[in-house]
């Protein structure tokens, strides 16, 4: 299978994702410029992190209205895995492929640090190789990462098991102290209703080799590739 890594002006984690897929996992992956209108030859897509369009208007807002996002939407509608990391998550919410919005951190500072996440749902193409409740260590790097949605929609997300990752402490408790940005319900990542579109603020591609501190994120890409092969 071949994975498309979508590149916008201002994407900056594109080559990191390419490195993990190609060099660490030996998977075919290609960088695809945002002006492309078709993604028919790809089995999955990753929207990487960065600062597309300088975060003008709102983080992810401009990128979400580019031609390639129609192709990403088609891929998602066909049930193929689509994964948005950090700015990619912001782009997916702005495009309506995922619910909610990412807003400025409660304490409005760019935060780049390790975080612990609890895997809340293993019944997704991205988490099938993890154990339910597993605690993984993956870094964050953002200023606009506070997940927000109104009470009723939040309840829906929880009831549908769309919350995939939550910020927790080392022991797996989702406390306020370890919530890095003020996200409602300590939400770090969610999927769409059908589970094949994932958005998350933490960066699994920065935690895919032990030499850089953690390879807890690697299983996410492995799971995605396994599910894409089926």
């Amino acid at each position: 299978m071949t994975v498309a890594i979508i590149q916008f002006g201002g994407s900056n984690c594109d080559n990191d994702v390419l490195h993990v897929l190609q060099d660490v996992l030996g998977i075919d992956a290609e960088l695809v410029w945002y002006k492309e209108e078709k993604l028919d030859e790809y089995e999955a897509a990753v929207i990487p992190g960065g600062f597309s369009y300088g975060d003008y208007l709102r983080s992810g807002a401009i990128a979400s209205r580019t031609p390639i996002m129609d192709a990403v939407r088609k891929l998602a509608d066909d049930g193929k895995p689509v994964m948005g990391i950090c700015n990619g998550f912001q782009i997916l919410t702005e495009s309506g492929l995922l619910d909610g919005a990412l807003t400025t951190n409660s304490y409005p500072k760019f935060k780049c640090e390790w975080s612990y996440l609890r895997v809340e749902n293993t019944n997704t193409p991205f988490t099938s190789m993890y154990d339910e409740g597993q605690i993984i260590r993956i870094p964050i790097a953002h200023k606009d990462g506070k997940f927000y949605h109104d009470d009723a929609s939040l309840q829906q997300l929880e009831e549908n098991n769309q919350v995939v990752f939550r910020y927790v402490d080392e022991n797996g408790k989702p406390t306020e102290a370890v919530n890095p940005n003020g996200s409602r319900n300590n939400i770090a990542g969610i999927t769409n209703k059908t589970g094949n579109v994932l958005g998350m603020m933490p960066h699994p591609e920065r935690a895919s080799e032990t030499i850089i501190g953690s390879d807890d994120g690697l299983l996410m890409f492995k799971s995605m590739i396994e599910s894409g092969r089926k």
Partner: protein
Amino acid sequence: MLYEAEVTINLKAGMLDPEGTTIKRALGHLGYNTESVKSTKRYVIELKAESEENARDLVDQMCQKLIANPIIHDYSIDLREIE
């Protein structure tokens, strides 16, 4: 007709406004005590339209499709003919 629309984007009531809070704190450091500071964004758009109603309708569509995010924002449109 040429119109100028001033679009003001506000965070919905009850949402935290970290930028406003930070400015309030900085004002405090300068000795100004304020009850609250809220941040807003304002865009000024010039456009041609057949009528004021038509212009307002177009700007409203722009707000819904791009300029505002309905999950977190309220917006208002102030429109005037400039030609």
